[in-house]
């Protein structure tokens, strides 16, 4: 299993603790919001998960996208810092494999982050709201929403990883990432085409979107994932033309 070397490479970089802490920080957002301002939300008459996501997801999504940005930059910074990427290039591994393995590692980390956030939203639903559809209904709703969020996170993850693989200097990949995140916040909402920008995707809440828009996203996002993923893996092959 070749993701194992990628996990090993992240030892003592703070990658895992930082993402875990970031996930916990993001998970605290709905908890603190409800702890201090529950009266604003409890009387709304909508499903509790929907209320909580509408109130908190923008901030949580922003934290998630920043975590993805920093995580992907560190994944490649470790390769470039002491030119270890040169060693990797001289070993019998498919050139795109490094990119794919790092993506898998990042995706696994994001699953953990989203799981923490889902748990927090679930806790808030349980603590402050009646559950008309019961515990199972709550779990299903959480799985639907956060599964969707995981899918929406992938294009940004792939694009950040691609940018980090191209830029040897971390501040450049970080800077481009920051500009992309900022661009996502500046794009007009309600426009489907703009909402496909990878960094803008994660801010969408599926149940708050019109049904046909959510459906279109479900079709468009895998295409984006494929396109960016292929570009990233291919770049590893053509990289040597520039050295």
């Amino acid at each position: 299993m070749s993701v194992f070397p990628e996990c090993k490479k992240m030892k003592r970089t703070g990658f895992f603790p930082a993402l875990l802490l970031g996930g916990l920080f993001s998970a605290m957002v709905p908890v603190l919001n409800m702890a201090f301002r529950s009266e604003l939300y409890t009387g709304q008459g909508k499903p509790p998960v929907r209320i909580l996501l509408d109130a908190n997801w923008q901030m949580m999504a922003m934290l998630n996208i920043l975590l993805v940005l920093v995580g992907t930059c560190i994944l490649y910074h470790t390769e470039y810092e002491n030119h270890a990427i040169g060693k990797m290039a001289a070993l019998p591994i498919r050139r795109g494999r490094l990119f794919v393995d790092k993506f898998l590692l990042m995706a696994a980390a994001c699953i953990v982050i989203l799981a923490l956030e889902a748990a927090a939203v679930g806790f808030c639903s349980f603590r402050w709201f009646p559950l008309p559809e019961g515990f199972h209904g709550l779990i299903l709703e959480l799985l639907q929403n956060f599964g969707y969020f995981l899918l929406l996170m992938m294009p940004a993850m792939l694009l950040s990883l691609f940018i980090a693989s191209v830029c040897e200097n971390m501040w450049i990949s970080l800077g481009i990432g920051v500009i992309c995140v900022f661009t996502a916040t500046m794009l007009p909402s309600g426009n489907f085409a703009w909402s496909l920008f990878p960094y803008a995707l994660l801010f969408q809440i599926p149940k708050s979107l019109p049904a046909h828009t959510a459906g279109k996203l479900l079709l468009a996002v895998p295409i984006e994932i494929g396109a960016i993923g292929i570009a990233g893996a291919l770049f590893a092959n053509i990289r040597r033309r520039f050295t």
Partner: protein, 256 residues
């Protein structure tokens, strides 16, 4: 070595880093939506703000809320990585340079980059307001003295935030933590400015200043006014403490 000579040396180190391009790109993206949707400024009757004031304030709010603080985190990464890559810091520490002075010189470069980005924002505001004025047949340009005054206020208000980011980058050796803390600390600013204790959170300062100005310009909107006490003493305290701690710690790990 004279301080300003050291600052000059530090500027030379970031030549070819392309940081100016990154900072500039951000300001272009900041104002592009404002130009494209300039007509939206005529629909702000509910807030009671004039189109030209709204055009100005929305752009600067976007800058102060995220772009500017995040860009400054990126700049701290640039300044630190320039020394840590290829162990440049070891060379510097082996020269007759006071580490604290070197740290302060680097902070001065950070401050200059902050000023540069704000200046670029003002410049792009001028260009964007000019374009919007032509397309909408309405003068969106505010008096330059006012614009520079607001820009200056944001820069001054951001100093404690910059010292905090600098402190993080000096004290926390692991890049993911220093960058992660820095970026994550920007996000709660939008909440903090609505609390009574906003003044203990330096990342909220630039945004608070511009939101406060928004409150003055929008007759039907009320925002918290700036209370110089306790803000100024707390801000000064944060700045001094962060700078002192940074200068104390700088280069200590390499010196053993």
């Amino acid at each position: 070595m004279k301080f300003f000579t050291l600052v000059g040396v530090e500027f030379r180190k970031i030549r070819r880093s392309r940081i100016q391009i990154l900072l500039f790109l951000g300001t272009v993206i900041l104002w592009l939506p404002s130009v494209i949707h300039a007509d939206m400024n005529f629909k702000m009757q509910a807030e009671g703000i004039s189109p030209e004031n709204n055009f100005f304030i929305q752009g600067f709010m976007g800058m102060a809320a995220f772009l500017f603080p995040a860009s400054m985190v990126v700049c701290t990464v640039l300044l630190q990585q320039t020394e840590r890559n290829h162990h440049g810091i070891l060379k510097m520490l082996s020269l007759p340079v006071c580490p604290a002075k070197l740290c302060f010189a680097k902070f001065t470069v950070l401050l200059s980059l902050a000023a540069a980005q704000i200046l670029m924002t003002v410049g792009m505001y001028g260009v964007s307001a000019g374009i919007a004025s032509r397309t909408q047949d309405y003068n969106f340009l505010l008096p330059l003295s006012y614009v520079f005054k607001q820009a200056g206020s944001i820069l001054l208000a951001s100093i404690p935030m910059l010292t905090f980011f600098w402190l993080l980058s000096v004290w926390i050796r692991t890049p993911i933590f220093s960058i992660g803390f820095g970026l994550a600390s920007i996000v709660p600013s939008v909440l903090m400015i609505n609390t009574k204790v906003w003044f203990v959170y330096p990342m909220a300062y630039p945004f608070f200043v511009i939101v406060s100005e928004y409150g003055k310009l929008a007759t039907r909107l009320s925002t918290a006014p700036i209370k110089w006490v306790p803000w100024l003493p707390v801000a000064a305290g944060i700045t001094i403490i962060c700078l002192l701690l940074s200068c104390f710690r700088f280069g200590q790990v390499e010196r053993g």
